[in-house]
Symmetry: C2
Subunit: 248 residues, 2 copies
DNA sequence: CGCGCCGTTGAGTTGTCTCAAATCACGTGG
DNA sequence: CCACGTGATTTGAGACAACTCAACGGCGCG
């Protein structure tokens, strides 16, 4: 609440960050300024928690850089990684539409910069401002579709295919043919993100390498035949390769 | 478009149906009347298709009675059941926020009554009417949460636990202790809904019966110890038993 | 009565997990 | 610059869960 000292230093870059976000872009400059004033730029270390499941949803976050893991934990200590998000994604925002309780936790898996914004402000903005409500609808609906694919993927694809699918989403469909990819975060995290153990990930990636033209050096992956890979992956999926709306 | 003949016979009951729905309840009577006029009550046989994936989303539907299966199909013919919905649920509505293409198919698995409504009208209503947009936000957000649980369930629970979880959601937490449940639809459909084969379902249900106090006669299930069942199920889940917001 | 559908059961296969150990990658301190 | 420690990744062996294919029993319906 009391950031008067830092306020006028921070506001200009913060406003710029907000403008790059669909949710804020349609807002009136005044409304956006309200958010910019209330925003706090946070630098988070690897491992630090943005919020936990069942926390009061006092804040929501706009990720500026770095990867954040969204997860739930079971009573007996198992963890499911629901999603990994980065640059440009909002998290914790949908809680305001429910009971203002976070339905999952969020933690930085590497150094992260994020804007922290008060949920109350967003709640108000959605209630008062039609454009903001529409932007929010768009965001949620994209999210919904993404999650449907997730369910399909877990149900219908085996480990190798899920990995292949993950790689395909990193590919530029119009890129030059030997495509060079860099895995965006640790293999063990990709494994968790895809709902498998890291041992299984390792073996399944090897299987994928053998069965499609693919080479792997640490976190560098080279795809030499995109078609072959997409046939291998997408035969067990309802979407063909350049599957839109899906990332990371 | 030309239902003048049936219109005045149908409108009264249709208006009543709409009023029972959160999406329409907050609307002005005039706007609701517009929907009621454009609505068509459909009676669908078992197996009939409401729409298919990749269809143009010309209509959305309010289910009045009977169960509808939401699904996607892969290239090589496998099917994933994304959800089963009935009485009071909207389907196909979220397509209007995307590219007006259905991202899943919908088919009746038994005789179904449904109201068919033009998507264009909803799109218009959301754009013009703030209350409607907010109602839509609420619906989508409930949906989002539900899907997150789905992902968690597929990742963390084994077959027996998923079945137990399904049964728990049919239980009234305040009910008298020998709880009598009736499975809402065929076992093979429950299996598909839970992401397993029907053989696996059969065996896993037997395992569940052995390991918790549970008896099964055809589609009748009797739960005599709710706590025991919920411990068995919820130890592998992030929610404890009376898990709100989840049904079906 | 006989057909067809649903559900169950059996036998064998495949996929993923567990546990344990070896190896690799990288940053720190000497 | 190198040795070391820590965490990430890979590999191996064996257990277990879920799947496939096949056959059978029950039930409703013509």
């Amino acid at each position: 609440m009391a950031q008067t000292a830092t306020a006028y230093r921070d506001e200009a870059p913060i406003a710029a960050l907000l403008e790059g976000q669909p949710l804020f872009r349609g807002m009136s400059p005044e409304l956006r300024a309200t958010f910019a004033q209330a925003a706090q730029l946070q630098s988070l270390n690897k491992g630090s928690v943005l919020f936990l499941q069942d926390d009061e949803a006092e804040w929501f976050y706009l990720i500026i850089s770095g990867w954040v893991k969204l997860f739930t934990e079971t009573m007996d200590g198992d963890e499911a990684v629901i999603d990994m998000v980065s640059n440009g994604h909002l998290i914790g925002d949908s809680a305001i539409l429910e009971d203002s309780i976070h339905s999952f936790g969020a933690a930085a898996v590497e150094p992260v910069k994020a804007l922290r914004l008060p949920s109350s402000l967003l709640k108000q903005a959605i209630t008062d401002d039609h454009k903001t409500a529409l932007a929010m609808l768009g965001a949620l609906s994209r999210h919904r579709k993404r999650q449907s694919r997730e369910i399909e993927s877990l149900t219908l694809q085996n480990a190798s295919q899920r990995i292949g699918c993950f790689l395909l989403r990193l590919c530029d469909p119009n890129g030059q043919m030997p495509l060079e990819l860099t895995l965006p975060y640790d293999k063990s995290l990709i494994a968790a993100r895809l709902g498998m153990k890291s041992e299984t990930f390792s073996r399944a990636l090897n299987k994928l390498r053998k069965e499609t033209t693919l080479s792997i050096k640490g976190s560098m992956v080279t795809v030499s035949d995109l078609d072959e890979l997409s046939v291998y992956v997408c035969s067990a999926c309802s979407n063909e390769f350049p599957c839109k709306d899906l990332h990371g």
